[in-house]
Amino acid sequence: MMEELLSTQEELNHQSLQTKWRLMVLISQCALLILFLPIPLVTPKPIDRLIHIDATSFQFTPAEIKVNQGDRVTIEFVSTDVVHGISIDGYDFQLTSDPGQPVTGTFVASWPGMFRFRCSVACGNLHPFMIGKLWVGPNLILIRGVLLGILAVVAAIFSLKKSKVLKTGKTS
């Protein structure tokens, strides 16, 4: 009798472990889909844009820029106090301006997402934090992040659904 009970218990434990693994694989697959599934988007027709950016210790004006994917973006960059530079994360784009001397550079906004632009010339104590943001098209990674968050909550609920925790409030 005792042996029978023990073997039933073992079988139940085995089944519960299998279910947990299946759940983990399913959640991992969903997470990968959310992170990497290509999302077909209707992108507006690319246009040429001229954007003027002023650099003053330790801020860019404007510090937030939105363009569409594929746009040909010309940056007119001028420093208003000391020498400043601008470089955009993920793009091979860099300009340096002496005070009052505008410089221009052009790049094609090929990659979608949010990119920080930074001062590329040491300009003072807050130089490492002189940052702006460029959005190219919709910020898909933010959307993916929110969806992954929803999956995380669902996964947390399901991972404890069959355990004693939800029934008794005690850890299994």
Binding site: A31, L35, T56, F58, Q59, F60, T61, A63, E64, S87, D89, G90, Q94, G113, M114, F115, R116, R118, S120, A122, N125, L126, H127, P128, F129, M130, I131, G132, K133, N139, I141, L142, R144, G145, V146, L148, G149, L151, A152, V153, A155, A156, I157, S159, L160, V165, L166, G169, K170, T171
Partner: protein, 441 residues
Amino acid sequence: MNRLDLTRTRWTNFLIRNRWPQFLIRAITLAGFIFTILAGLLGSVVGSHNFAIIFVWIAWWTALKLFFIPFGGRSWCSICPIPMPGEWIQNGGILQPRGKNFGLGKRWPKFLRGRWLQAGGFMLVGLFGVITLTSPSVTSIVLLIILLLAFVLALVFERRSFCNYLCPIGGFTGLYAQAAPVEVRVKNPEICSTHAQKSCYEACPWGVYPLALKSSANCGLCMECLRVCPSDNLAVNLRPWGSDLGPETKHSLDEAFLGLVMVSSALMDSAIFLGPWGQLKMAAYAIGTGSWFLFAGLFLVIALMLVPGIYTLAVWIANKLGEQKMNLRKALAHQSQVLVPLGLTAWIAFTISFALAKFSYVLPVVSDPFGWGWNLLGTVAKPWVGQSTLTSMLLQVIVLALGLFWSSRVAIKISGSLKQALPMIVFSAMTMVGMLWLLIG
């Protein structure tokens, strides 16, 4: 749950029990600490060219959040140089176990106990963070004050009073050590209960009695209890992450306050250091001016009113939805466990964005620590401008999602029902979305 006792393996047992390996590492960290103070005081005023700024705020601060805490809990505390000089005086020797020697040995005042002062210290770091993180001399002065304060307090008060009640980093590591996969615990409680001498408690610089140890928040992993136990009854266990979080563990209101300060600070630092708002950065930097007071007011409103207010509301609703009601004070303390994985992952995500983009500064300052134009190791080259890559953004998304998964699980585990856990899950989700927006939005 399963545990792997490191004292059962010969070489790890040797490394843990022998005082020499730990002393050698601490001697190196103490030398590095003093060198950092000197570099900050004597070296270049440009932060990116000074060892003090790059090593404290880029290398060490990053290592603490990405390595020491997630994998070793309070392992940094076990090699921290700050309490060393005071402890040598207290113990009357460098490799001595704790004993009654020099110092007044007074007990820390009861009304100052808990994590309140550590939380206050961490808020001060946030309020003056921009100047501390960018000025080598200010960093050095802060380190020097901490070193002197720890020394003086060791002469007046017993054990590691500074670490236990004042050190903001001690508060940070202690809080998140509850989630870490390392613990010191007794092997067989019955052996301890029959041992009248309590030599482990006498030897513990943290004032912890291992038999009563239920949470790793207060254990500094110094290993002194293992070294003096006559029955070899203490284990250093590797354990599943988050083992100290659950319905049975006890938590206090000061822990909740500390957890909220940490979450608020992660949000504020993300806005200040990684956001595009130049005026916010300038205000945080211009200490003593009207704009700084405005910034300080905003910081304090967020850290002391807004985030704690939303948290209190979530706990209050959760308490109302529960079958067994507890008073609000107890509920605030009990639910604070949710803040542990939430805050830890928020800080890790912030660090990925903040420090990894600036890691290129580390090698040049090793070669020229004072910024005097040296090139000792030939690694001085113009550091590349740091970038947030798509990989680092994906990593941040994954870390924050894991944090939400973990905190939601903790919320469900410590609540009586899913319905009761929902307000805390919503609070966690709001924090996660806030961090996402600040870091990659």
